[in-house]
């Protein structure tokens, strides 16, 4: 009786998009407008009261952004999505829906540095307290749970250094604690790993990286897995209590298995305001159409470069879970069997000076602070993003003086290797 579920590549092109109902435009139009006219007064009232689906104002929703939302939700196997201005904004809106002042959440300490900053510092102003746990020691998550814990936050493949997190093991901790598991799936993308299949309740993305994939647009996205029972214990009042913002509506009861995405939209995005530009949504949508092709090429190139570096006499170590000797290799085979991503670090025997020399000598690699571009990218964290830290702090953050981070692009792999070779020996 059920319709066939299309494959990933088909969804990457078609999910959420259909020919424009009024013009027949086949590509998704850029609805570059702040506002949308109402059919009549009753229609306006229904929209504002959340009683009808539709468009009001681009800070709350926009038809171009909506295609992106449905596209990523479908690729992740979730019930709904919400596109926002950046990955950072996505994290703020998720926590805004879950936390009240004085609450705690447990986060993996192997996270993107920007997330560590956001959780350690800016969240303090909201009274949201992060408790760090070690993804290499699952029991540390268990120990970090208290009666105030409202969520667990991890990254599937952690930036910068090829750490694969055991999502299923941590989802079991979350289930026992009765809290949702939030997974940042930016580095893996749903092509390599679908955290919802392994127990995630919410997925967040920086679309800026591999999903957009061309280094041209900042964006973020929240996916609701539709798996968490927000009303069971009444610990999530944004979802389970009558909302004064909307004449007493209870969001979970009204919107069922996509209530979390609605809460992030109508309570978070509406009032905090980090809306995504429709133009950026269009650029990112265009990128997603080729995600399966690009991601496989990224991974194949990264594997070739990692193997080549591992045998290089100027290289001390390579941290890439695709390599058979890597400590995360078995987890990579379980969670990202098609490839271990395209961002990894390696260490130079020549230390800090060798790192500076390498980034100064590259001609094809771009020396910059992004990842997940068609172009190959390189950064020496000790002399750039982590410059202000002491040597001990740098090493703890995985940014010791000898560390170089690569984001391998989709150029010809021989050209990538030739550029690294000339820069290493030059």
């Amino acid at each position: 009786m059920t319709e066939r579920t299309p494959g990933f590549a088909t969804l990457a092109i078609h999910a959420g998009a259909q020919p424009d109902p009024t013009t027949g435009a086949r590509a998704t139009p850029i609805y570059q407008t702040t506002s949308f006219v109402f059919d009549d007064v009753d229609h306006a009232a229904s929209l504002f009261g959340l009683q009808a689906f539709g468009n009001i104002y681009t800070r709350i929703g926009n038809p171009t952004c909506a295609v992106l939302e449905e596209r990523v939700a479908a690729l992740e196997g979730g019930t709904a999505g919400l596109a926002v201005a950046s990955g950072h904004a996505a994290q703020v809106l998720v926590m805004h829906a879950l936390m009240t002042p004085g609450d705690e959440f447990v986060a993996s300490k192997k996270l993107y540095g920007g997330s560590i900053n956001q959780f350690n510092h800016s969240y303090k102003n909201f009274g949201w307290n992060v408790v760090w746990a070690d993804p290499d020691d699952i029991a540390s998550f268990e120990r970090a749970i208290t009666p105030k814990t409202k969520a667990i936050f991890i990254e599937s493949i952690a930036n910068p250094g090829g750490v694969i997190t055991d999502i299923e093991a941590i989802s079991n901790v979350a289930r026992r604690a009765g809290v949702p598991l939030v997974v940042d799936n930016t580095l893996a993308t749903p092509y390599l790993c679908r955290p919802i299949d392994h127990g995630a309740d919410v997925v967040v993305h920086s679309l800026t990286k591999f999903l957009g994939g061309h280094g041209n647009s900042i964006g973020g996205l929240i996916v609701d897995a539709g798996t968490f029972n927000w009303s069971r214990e009444g610990r999530y009042p944004m979802l389970s209590e009558p909302r004064p913002e909307y004449q007493g509506i209870v969001l979970h009861e009204t919107f069922g298995n996509f209530a979390f995405a609605i809460a992030c939209r109508v309570l978070g995005l509406r009032d905090l305001g980090p809306a995504l530009s429709p133009f950026n949504a269009f650029m990112i949508l265009t990128g997603i159409e080729t995600l399966p092709l690009r991601m496989q090429r990224h991974c194949d190139n990264a594997m070739a470069v990692a193997e080549w570096l591992a045998n290089h006499n100027k290289v001390a170590w390579v941290s890439y879970p695709g390599l058979s000797g890597d400590r995360y290799h078995n987890l990579a085979r379980k969670y990202a069997p098609k490839g271990a991503g395209a961002v990894f670090t390696f260490g130079l025997k020549g230390g800090y000076e060798a790192g500076v020399k390498l980034v100064s000598n590259v001609k094809l690699f771009s020396h910059l602070a992004n990842i997940g571009d068609t172009r190959s990218l390189i950064i020496h964290p000790a002399s750039t993003t982590h410059r202000q830290l002491s040597d001990a702090q740098k090493t703890q953050a995985g940014a010791g003086p000898d560390v170089v981070r690569l984001s391998i692009g989709i150029e010809d792999k021989d050209d990538i290797i030739v550029d690294l070779e000339q820069a290493l020996v030059g």
Binding site: A74, G78, A80, N229
Partner: protein, 192 residues
């Protein structure tokens, strides 16, 4: 039939052919899910008749409220049950006692009674359980896509507009299956 999943064709066939819906358990309060669904279906052109003994004789959105299904003085194509599962069987039996019988009995999201469903099906009545007609209409017409919901449909055909206005879409849309939401469905079964 299997009531864990329904094909889009089955649901569309029902929503595209019923015209008069008796909705049992509609609340007159604007913030209740039943009011949402009632108002939405009215705005999509269905004749929706509210049934609620506590509101009998009053109006909800201009529609006269009846105390019971038997009080409705005209035939209904579909009975939509907005009551908790333990009350569903009694409503199903009232619906099956109507003459003429409704063609469809629909139980809302979270409402399910397999034994009552089997009685209805034995009488030749189509049954839908644990679904919301508003969400299903929104999904199959593509309206729900405007709020980022995974409609689980794909289409290379232009979606037709419904009547006047620009933000109302018709159910006469050709689709194939889209992205599945298996994790959510498994979780719902575990939570039952």
């Amino acid at each position: 039939m299997n009531h864990d999943t329904y094909s889009d064709q089955y649901i569309r066939g029902i929503l595209n052919t019923v015209k008069t819906i008796a909705m049992v358990g509609v609340s007159p309060r604007e913030n209740r899910p039943s009011y949402f669904a009632f108002k939405y279906l009215l705005e999509r052109g269905y004749r929706v008749i509210p049934v609620n003994p506590g509101q009998a004789g009053k109006d909800i959105l201009g529609q006269k409220v009846y105390a019971t299904l038997a009080d409705i003085p005209e035939p209904v194509d579909m009975v939509d049950i907005f009551r908790a599962s333990q009350f569903a069987a009694a409503v199903v039996d009232e619906a099956l006692a109507l003459a003429p019988r409704p063609r469809v009995i629909w139980m809302q999201l979270g409402v399910r009674d397999d034994a009552a469903a089997a009685r209805a099906e034995a009488a030749g009545v189509k049954v839908v359980m644990n679904r919301c007609p508003k969400i299903e209409y929104g999904r199959l017409s593509s309206e729900i896509s405007w709020i980022g919901v995974n409609s689980r449909t794909l289409s290379s055909r232009r979606a037709p507009l419904l009547g006047k206005g620009v933000q109302r879409m018709s159910l006469d849309r050709q689709t194939t299956g889209g992205g599945s939401t298996g994790a959510s469905e498994r979780a719902a079964r575990e939570q039952e």
